[in-house]
């Protein structure tokens, strides 16, 4: 509110008085005879408005809250209002012929601009409406809420027309004004717009643009529904990539991609894959085909928090990484935080991949699915009554059927199977209370030639309850139970055995979000995760097995955290997001813990007798304050500079026994000796958009210092080892790099280029003479180029090229011979060699759904060729010392040829 000098106030009062005298005579002359019983002030005003030729402008929230029993007989409007507003802070004045404005008295002393009066002029005499019909001119608000500059605050929410899901990252822009915003995680936006007739444009990938002209008269609320594009492979939609969100958002290092884009990319076996698509983003890489998980800015696979709603995964892959664990048909949004991680997330060092599922269609039932060469999927979603929606999805491979067709015994004796199933039930009790129940189940089972195999499964149950206390306060509560079981098996021979590693957890989380009119947002909350693990169980397999069964003691841990975050704009240019996460971890009994004469460096040589801890006893505890901070400085509407810092801690780690992680690599809680991993993360970036945000460019540099990490000793015995700490060495790590991204979002030709230079190194006393050495995931150069040719909305041709430096490996470089005739290989130091560089080109053609979106049966096709020039990229290198007593270094190329695929997608409504 504008503060005025006394002179101006006098002028204002004179002005108002003049206006009142000039324009309100008709209203003043109206005489009112009415009798109201137990009615609110608003109701009385509404009835008077309907019956008499007078219009009231007011804020409902400012009106007296009490109920009135009141009678008027031939009283003027002024008298009526005087009685109604008695003992309140409100005053009223007339405006033109039939308008009366009700305002707090202090507001009436404010100077109003010409725009204000222009808006007021227009509103008086017109019907007050908030019609949502798109064929009529829609009015927003009323003049009483207009600020002195003549601008109105228009807030609202953008939701999916069919699912009621909030749309995150949609751009809301008032054409030819500065008023614009990007919807937040709840689909909310807030804009400031000059009053008058204004054109609103709402854009979001995969949805039809919404263009609507509004008559903005004052502050108001707009709840809009976006319809999906009829032509598009996707019916789901993903991610937050608003027109200028990369410039506007405070968060640095957020990778986003729409599912519409994902489904156009050439996909292995034709299956759209969220994780594989993220690999095309700068700073995200993997070890290649056949590698589980992904790596962010040189981090290990286990340093990514992979979440589906509030549940987190311990394995995000199917079939050893050929498919991701997420069914794209079920997904609503995906965000990958690879730089500064918001304080509400924690527990991992490198990144957070936040996958949100979508609700079922709230209008009609729909069957959808797709069939590929080795896997298929089907889903059903729709409403049950007015308040419940259901969304289900199921995927399964049928590779065994293919295997049996191949006349190779090793292949016929092999199997590769996976499935995953999702169900999500959403119950909207009312506008303010929403309950969601979701479940996830998956299983993978692999056997090679009946010799060895892996199997792992995930089971998740998730309950979340959202409560909106007011327009500005939202509470989210969630409870998760998850069970992850993994094992690896040697099926034959004397070493026939199965080794299992299971993790269960229960997670509770509550988060309160508060916003105010100044775009200030505060998030506070807390979470607790209780882990219950079976770290190692070995059983013998087969008649020949001489393996002695063994089981390690169960382990328990409790990870609790409190967090707070504030998003504070300072002027138009500076936006600060800062917060802190206070994490506290306890390693709990019952357990026997070995003691060492040198506990800093536990070895078998210094091991002593164990101490027995009782159930629930605290064996070790760690507290880590984790500050998080992001700054965005907007230089122009198209240019911003961002920086971010975060401290992260990780209390559960994966122990790899090779330079390539397997699905069964053992998860291990932090213990008395294996302290939590902690890191400092710093990044800074320059973001510049061109051509009305159609071209996005960014350049980021980052660094991460890891204070505590682990690597295995040479020749370590990691399996079912009750003193695992003796096989690991602790040290520190660092990673740093630069990322360049250039993206053209629209047009017949579009696509993007991502280049990353990154290094990830470790310094551990006892490995490589205590010198820095590259981590398993150190890939200095990584380049992705995606080109789309889209002559129309239904047809898309896509080509993508990937290049990456070969990853480090430890390999034999020679032999020597003992006196007894034994050939002994000599290996390099840890990760001293690199496998050959990786590169490939893929192409795809997509024929989207038909133009008529109301057809009951719709289908789309994707034809793709993966690795079109048949590059034999090495997945791994190994040493063959069998046969003629000589050794040969071999590389295994998982995909050595061009691989074509066709996928058929359908939808029945």
């Amino acid at each position: 509110m504008i503060k005025l000098s006394k002179t101006l106030i006098v002028f204002l009062l004179i002005s108002i008085g003049f206006a009142t005298i000039s324009y309100s005579q008709e209203a003043q002359q109206t005489l009112i005879t009415e009798n109201f019983s137990n009615q609110s002030c608003k109701a009385i005003l509404s009835q008077l408005q309907d019956k008499y030729r007078v219009r009231f402008f007011f804020k409902e929230s400012e009106l007296p809250k009490r109920m009135f029993d009141i009678q008027f007989t031939d009283q003027s409007v002024d008298d009526v209002l005087d009685q109604l507003l008695l003992n309140s802070s409100l005053g009223h004045y007339s405006y033109r012929e039939n308008g009366i404005i009700i305002l707090p008295v202090v507001d009436m002393e404010t100077e109003y601009s010409a725009e204000y009066y222009a808006a007021l002029d227009k509103s008086v005499g017109e019907p007050q409406s908030t019609s949502t019909s798109q064929t009529q001119l829609v009015s927003i608000g009323n003049i009483s809420t207009l600020d002195a500059s003549g601008s109105a605050i228009v807030t609202g929410r953008i939701i999916d027309d069919q699912t009621d899901e909030p749309i995150i990252g949609a751009t809301v822009r008032w054409v030819n004004t500065d008023g614009a915003d990007v919807t937040d995680f709840d689909g909310n936006f807030k804009t400031q717009v000059p009053s008058g007739s204004r054109e609103l444009l709402v854009e979001y990938i995969g949805y039809q643009n919404l263009i609507q002209v509004y008559d903005v008269k004052g502050n108001g609320q707009l709840d809009l529904r976006l319809e999906k594009e009829a032509v598009g492979l996707d019916e789901v939609t993903i991610t937050a990539q608003a027109a200028n969100s990369n410039v506007e958002k405070a968060q640095i290092g957020v990778a986003t991609l729409s599912v519409a884009e994902i489904k156009k990319l050439p996909a292995f076996m034709g299956e759209a894959d969220i994780v594989k698509s993220l690999l095309l983003q700068p700073g995200v890489s993997s070890l290649g085909e056949g590698a589980s998980g992904f790596n962010v800015r040189g981090g290990d696979v286990d340093q990514n928090l992979v979440m589906q709603d509030e549940a987190f995964f311990f394995n995000s892959s199917h079939a050893l990484g050929f498919f991701s664990a997420f069914n794209a048909d079920m997904v609503s949004s995906v965000d990958l935080y690879k730089g500064n991680i918001p304080s509400k997330f924690g527990g991992r060092l490198a990144s957070v991949m936040d996958v949100k599922l979508k609700n079922g269609n709230n209008k009609r039932w729909r069957l959808k699915g797709g069939a590929g060469l080795v896997s298929s999927r089907i889903g059903l979603d729709g409403p049950i009554g007015d308040k419940i929606t259901v969304n289900t999805g199921f995927r399964s491979s049928y590779a065994d059927w293919v295997l049996n067709l191949i006349d190779i015994p090793e292949v016929q004796n092999s199997s590769a199977f996976f499935y995953d199933a999702n169900v999500r039930i959403n119950m909207r009790f009312n506008e303010k209370n929403n309950l969601t129940l979701s479940g996830y189940s998956s299983s993978d089972d692999f056997v090679y030639n009946n010799e060895f195999g892996f199997d792992y499964s995930t089971l998740i149950g998730n309950l979340s309850y959202n409560t909106t206390f007011s327009d500005n306060i939202l509470n989210k509560f969630s409870a998760v139970y998850s069970q992850y079981k993994s094992s690896q098996s040697q099926l034959t021979g004397f070493e026939g055995a199965r080794i299992g590693n299971d993790i269960n957890y229960v997670k509770l989380k509550d988060e309160l979000s508060i916003t105010n009119s100044n775009e200030l947002r505060i998030d506070v909350g807390g979470s607790a995760i209780y882990y219950f693990m079976k770290p190692g169980v070995r059983t013998s397999l087969g008649d020949m097995s001489t393996v002695i069964p063994k089981s390690l003691e169960d382990e328990q841990g409790l990870e609790a955290a409190a967090f707070a975050n504030i998003e504070l704009p300072i002027g138009d240019a500076l936006l600060i997001t800062g917060g802190v996460r206070l994490s506290y971890y306890q390693y709990l009994g019952a357990k026997s813990v070995f003691q060492y004469t040198d506990p800093i460096n536990p070895t078998l040589a210094t091991i002593g007798e164990p101490i027995q801890y009782g159930d629930g006893d605290v064996i070790a505890s760690y507290f880590t304050p984790e500050p998080r901070l992001s700054l965005r400085l907007k230089l122009t509407d198209d240019i911003s500079i961002k920086t971010g810092y975060s401290r992260t801690a990780q209390y559960i780690n994966q122990i790899f026994n090779s330079d390539s992680p397997t699905p069964s690599s053992q998860w291990q809680l932090s213990t008395e000796y294996l302290k939590p991993q902690t890191s400092h993360n710093l990044s800074i970036g320059y973001f510049h958009n061109f051509a009305d945000n159609n071209w996005e460019t960014s350049f980021e540099v980052y660094g991460r210092q890891i204070d505590q990490l682990y690597d295995y000793r040479d020749f370590a015995n990691l399996f079912v080892n009750e003193h695992l700490e003796t096989e690991l060495l602790s040290g520190e790590g660092r990673s740093y790099g630069a990322e360049l991204s250039i993206k053209k979002k629209k047009g017949t030709y579009n696509g993007w280029l991502s280049y990353t230079y990154s290094r990830a190194e470790r310094l551990i006393d006892g490995i490589n003479d205590g010198n820095y050495y590259p981590s398993n995931f150190d890939k200095p150069h990584d380049l992705s180029l995606v080109l789309n040719y889209q002559p129309n909305k239904r047809n898309t041709f896509t080509v993508n090229f990937n290049y990456g430096t070969g990853r480090p490996t430890t390999a034999p470089v020679g032999n020597f011979l003992t006196k007894t005739g034994l050939f002994v290989p000599i290996y390099t130091e840890r990760n001293q060699l690199r496998i050959p560089d990786y590169h490939r080109i893929d192409v795809a053609y997509t024929l989207g759904k038909g133009w008529k979106k109301d057809k009951r049966f719709q289908s789309s096709w994707t034809l793709s060729v993966y690795n079109i020039y048949g590059r034999r990229n090495a997945f791994s290198v190994y040493y063959d010392n069998t046969g003629a007593r000589k050794a040969i270094a071999n590389k295994l190329s998982i995909l050595g040829y061009a691989f074509p695929a066709i996928t058929f997608n359908f939808e029945i409504i």
């Binding site: 090679y448 295995y712 006196k819 000599i826």
Partner: protein
């Protein structure tokens, strides 16, 4: 690792498009012409020293890998030195008799120095000579076991010879010690010319059997199975099996355990990740230079056991050889002088 790799190929196997190619690494400079030196001194009467010098060879072995050195010397902690004469290509051996002026005693420390014609010079750390506990018993027994038939690759019940020992882990100083065993054998056969031949070989070149005292709690091994040997026609006329027990210090046992891990890795998931072998040698005139191998000091205790062919149901002798299928030694065993002898060993009882 092999099986891990094989497993990861399962998806491509589905697709029939996995590839396995030889790959050539750019071997780092430090591994080019890297020297490997192995040796040990064994206290006895006489004591013996043996050292081999070779280049780290590429994956195709040739005899040219062995290096002739300009000099190979043994030294002790007091600076006494002895030159080792050449025994063969890259092989140097010396016998040290008592009262030769160079004491070989338990508790003393010894090292080697090797100079090459290239100018490179290598020296080991001093290794303390560890006394070996005496074996109390060595026995062999015939048992039927399920083993894999190498030809049919099926499980079969076959007789094998098991060797068991009783031994203390305590050396003279009553300190527990690490043990390693080597296994040799001498078998007899009659060639086609009616010569009786005695052949001495290692039982299994790939076998390294050892015990790390830190991983067991007892101070002795009783009826400890140290070797299984498949029966063969070479046993028909009798065989002596020699078990050579040697004591290792804490570094030497690690070296041999690592050698075993590297050389016997057959690709199961449970095997430890490979690494670089430890060494106690260094390049004295280039501290950054690379060298591999190990030198240690030990004492031996040897027991032998006769494997009587009478309880082995074997009817096919080594010779006469079947047409185009037998060993050439059947023509004339003396034509292969390295391991073959027509001189009856003194210990042979019949």
């Amino acid at each position: 690792m092999t099986k891990l790799i094989a497993f990861t190929s399962i998806a491509p196997v589905l697709l029939l498009c996995a590839c396995l190619d030889e790959v050539e690494f750019d071997v780092p400079n430090e591994f080019q012409n890297t020297v490997v030196i192995n040796g040990k001194i064994v206290k006895g009467n006489p004591s013996t020293v043996e050292v081999t010098v070779q280049n780290l060879f590429d994956f195709a072995f040739t005899g040219e890998s062995f290096l002739n050195a300009q000099s190979v010397q043994l030294f002790d902690e007091n600076g006494h030195k002895l030159n080792l004469p050449v025994k063969g290509p890259g092989t140097y051996e010396l016998k040290i008799y008592p009262n030769s002026g160079f004491d070989v005693e338990i508790g003393n420390s010894y090292g080697i120095e090797v100079k090459l014609f290239s100018g490179q010079s290598f020296e080991s750390e001093l290794a303390e000579l560890v006394g070996v506990p005496k074996m109390q018993k060595l026995e062999s027994r015939l048992v039927n076991k399920e083993i894999i038939n190498f030809v049919s690759e099926e499980l079969e019940v076959q007789p094998v010879i098991e060797y068991i020992v009783n031994t203390s882990l305590l050396s003279d100083g009553l300190e527990r010690t690490n043990l390693k065993w080597d296994f040799n054998r001498t078998y007899k056969f009659t060639d086609d010319s009616s010569h009786v031949c005695y052949v001495t070989t290692v039982v299994d070149a790939d076998l390294i059997e050892s015990v790390n005292e830190s991983q067991i709690t007892s101070s002795s091994l009783d009826d400890y199975l140290i070797l299984e040997q498949r029966i063969s026609q070479q046993m028909v006329e009798g065989q002596y099996t020699f078990v050579i027990q040697e004591a290792l210090d804490e570094n030497a046992i690690i070296f041999w355990e690592q050698v075993r891990a590297l050389s016997t890795n057959n690709g199961t998931f449970y095997e430890p990740p490979p690494g670089q072998l430890i060494t106690n040698l260094k390049q004295s005139n280039d501290t950054e230079g690379s060298v591999f191998g190990f030198f240690y000091a030990t004492e031996h205790d040897t027991l032998k056991v006769y494997v009587d062919s009478t309880f082995i149901d074997l009817s096919i002798p080594v010779c006469p050889r079947p047409p185009r299928a037998g060993p050439p030694v059947c023509d004339e065993c003396c034509s292969c002088p390295r391991f073959f002898s027509t001189i009856k060993p003194s210990y042979w009882i019949n």
